[in-house]
């Protein structure tokens, strides 16, 4: 089927179902789908339709539950952002406290956090731009490489592992995370897309137990801000990357969340950590969740391709 650019959302039944549920239950989010479609067009719609079809199929209850998770996740983030505008700091929390409240909390992870983050990759413009940047500027290098082995460190939902496996059909990967629920969710996603024969997940804290085996490519998306000492983590990543290898590392900047501990105030602070860990910058993207009204801080992502 040839899809004409921006020919309307009527050709995407799962997205229409998604939009109808948002309109009914969360009317204040009713323009979210149309706004993103207007900004990113048919590629966005085809990507999201594929995700919804493969992840939820005909199970409307599972889809609605994921949307409920997203709505709560997004409103929590906005409320924290409003606090951040005044206080300019993240609510003080140790890594252990965050891990207990979030990463090892099955209900929170499976019903809210992971579905929320997964859908945010399409519903938050800066997350979608980050995904596009990864595809165009990083995964294309994997496609051309002889050795297409990659590690994804801090897999979260498994979104980026799945993206690499999807766009680089010869890639073989391994994910590392500390959360058994991230492992479960990632394995489910990779299996539903049919890539499970090329991928596995290991539960491991790579700072304290750094794997000796190195890969040619490495992905670590929005992990740094979850750590008390992101520089130690970056040094561990450096050891996991083969000499001459390439990494896609991102961080949330001025973007509070339930489990964000380390505050990056700007992209330069992330770059400083990357340099200290002996990474060299090749390309970067900094994108905002929405434009500021005046001079208030807005949530940013910094995405860095480093060698």
């Amino acid at each position: 089927m040839v899809i004409q650019p921006n020919g309307g959302l009527e050709r995407f039944p799962s997205i229409k179902l998604f939009e109808a549920y948002l309109n009914e239950k969360y009317p204040f989010m009713r323009t979210l789908v149309a706004r993103n479609y207007g900004a990113f067009g048919d590629k966005w719609a085809m990507d999201l339709e594929t995700l919804l079809d493969l992840m939820f199929g005909n199970d409307k209850d599972a889809l609605y539950s994921a949307i409920d998770g997203y709505a709560t996740f997004a409103m929590d983030a906005l409320r924290l952002q409003k606090r951040f505008e005044k206080e300019r700091n993240y609510i003080k929390k140790s890594y252990g406290e965050a891990a207990q409240a979030v990463y090892h909390n099955e209900t929170y992870m499976m019903s809210l956090y992971l579905p929320g983050i997964l859908l945010s990759h399409y519903l938050w413009p800066h997350h979608y731009r980050q995904k596009e940047f990864c595809e165009v500027s990083f995964i294309r290098d994997i496609q051309r490489a002889r050795d297409q082995t990659f590690w994804d460190v801090g897999i979260g939902t498994g979104f980026y592992s799945r993206l690499v496996l999807e766009k680089a059909p010869d890639a073989v990967g391994r994910g590392y995370d500390i959360s058994e629920y991230s492992k479960r969710y990632t394995e489910m996603q990779v299996r539903k897309f049919g890539f499970h024969s090329r991928y596995s997940v290991t539960l491991r804290d790579v700072i304290h137990d750094t794997p000796r085996e190195q890969a040619s490519f490495l992905v670590s998306v929005e992990v740094l801000e979850h750590l008390e000492d992101p520089l130690s983590f970056l040094r561990a990543l450096r050891q996991m990357l083969k000499p001459g290898g390439k990494a896609f590392v991102t961080a949330a900047i001025t973007a509070p969340n339930e489990d964000h501990i380390y505050l990056y105030n700007n992209s330069e602070e992330v770059l400083e950590h990357l340099r200290k860990a002996d990474f060299k910058l090749e390309q970067c993207l900094v994108a905002a969740g929405y434009p500021p009204k005046t001079d208030e801080p807005v949530p940013l992502i910094g995405a860095y391709i480093v060698t």
Partner: protein, 83 residues
């Protein structure tokens, strides 16, 4: 009009910058210009300050209609009514 309705309505008028806005139980974001996610959270924070309470994440997601908001305020022990 009850004092509590006036109080809620005053918050709505301030957030949506519309001095003529009249709230009613079935009113939703579809009926008010600029009632998006950003203004939803602004509304929540302003109502929390006005009624000295704190809404849970689950309650914030359940406030599709203004009538829902009144029910949630009642559940917080606030004396709110439409009459």
């Amino acid at each position: 009009m009850s004092m509590s309705k006036q109080k809620v309505q005053a918050v709505f008028r301030e957030i949506f910058q519309d001095g003529d806005l009249e709230i009613y139980p079935e009113m939703t974001a579809r009926d008010v210009e600029n009632w998006d996610s950003f203004n939803h959270i602004n509304l929540i924070i302003a109502l929390e300050e006005a009624f000295d309470t704190r809404f849970s994440s689950e309650e914030i997601g359940r406030m599709a209609k203004v009538g829902d908001l009144f029910e949630i305020l009642k559940a917080h022990g606030k004396d709110v009514s439409w009459q």
